[in-house]
C-alpha cells in the first residue's frame, strides 16, 4: 500500500488508499512521525480513496490527533470516503478527527 505525501511548506497531506489494515496502520504511523519530526504544523490524512480502516489505524489517527493538538498543531482526516465516514461514525470519533468544511 503506497501512501502519497504532498508537502506544502509546513502543511502535509498524506493520501492513504485502499484498505487500512494493521500493516497499513503501522505504515501510516511511520509517515505521521516523519511529518512530526520534520516540523509539520498541520498533517491532513486524505482518506478519499480508502475503502476501510481498522481499529489500529483509528488508534494511530486518534493518538497523533491528540498529540498534535496538545502542541497547538493539527492532524485531521480530510475527504473521507463514504465507507470511511461510516466507520468513523461507528467509533464516535468522526466529529473529532474529520476536518470541518
Amino acid at each position: 500500500m503506497e501512501i502519497t505525501k504532498l508537502i506544502n511548506g509546513d502543511s502535509w497531506d498524506l493520501v492513504v488508499p485502499g484498505r487500512i489494515d494493521g500493516a497499513a496502520a503501522n505504515q501510516l504511523e511511520v509517515e505521521v512521525l516523519a511529518g512530526i519530526k520534520a516540523g509539520a504544523r498541520e498533517i491532513f490524512i486524505n482518506l478519499s480513496q480508502a475503502e476501510w480502516i481498522c481499529s489500529a489505524g483509528i488508534r494511530v489517527l486518534l493518538q497523533y490527533h491528540r498529540q498534535m493538538k496538545s502542541n497547538g498543531k493539527v492532524l485531521l482526516v480530510t475527504l473521507p470516503s463514504p465507507g470511511i465516514s461510516e466507520i468513523l461514525e461507528m467509533t464516535g470519533f468522526r466529529d473529532v478527527i474529520v476536518e470541518r468544511r
Binding site: 475503502e51 483509528i58 486518534l62 465507507g83
Partner: protein
Amino acid sequence: MLEVSLHNQPSEIAVAHEALDRIVAQHGLLGRAASRLHLAIEEHVTNIISHGYQSGRTGTITARFSLEGPVLQVEIKDDAEAFNPLAAPEVDTTLPLEEKPVGGLGIHLIRQSVDALEYRREGNRNILVMTVRVGDS
C-alpha cells in the same frame, strides 16, 4: 463454499481477505457489504492472533465463506484459548474526547459492521459466525 486456513501470523490475514475478494469477484457482489465483512475479519483475526495464543504457540485459524442469496457469511474457527467476543462489554462512544476509550474498539467495530454475529465453543475451538446482507450497501 470456500474455506481457507491460516497460521496465527499477522501476515497471513491476507489469506482470508483474498478468499473474500475471490467470492466477491466470482459473484459480482456490489455495495459496501463485502467491505464491512473485510473489516470485521481484520478485527477478529487480529484479535485472535494478538491475544489468543501464549507466546510462541502456533495455531490454526480457518475461514469458511458461504453465500446464500443476499446472505454472505464467514465462519471463523480458531484453536486459541476460549474467548467469546460477544461477552465483551459495550463501548461508550459518546464520551468526550479525553475520556473516549480506545480499548475494545475492534470488537465494537465488528458488532457495528456485521448484520448478525454468533459465537459458540466446540471442544477446543472458538467459532464466530459473521453475516452481512449484500446489496443493501
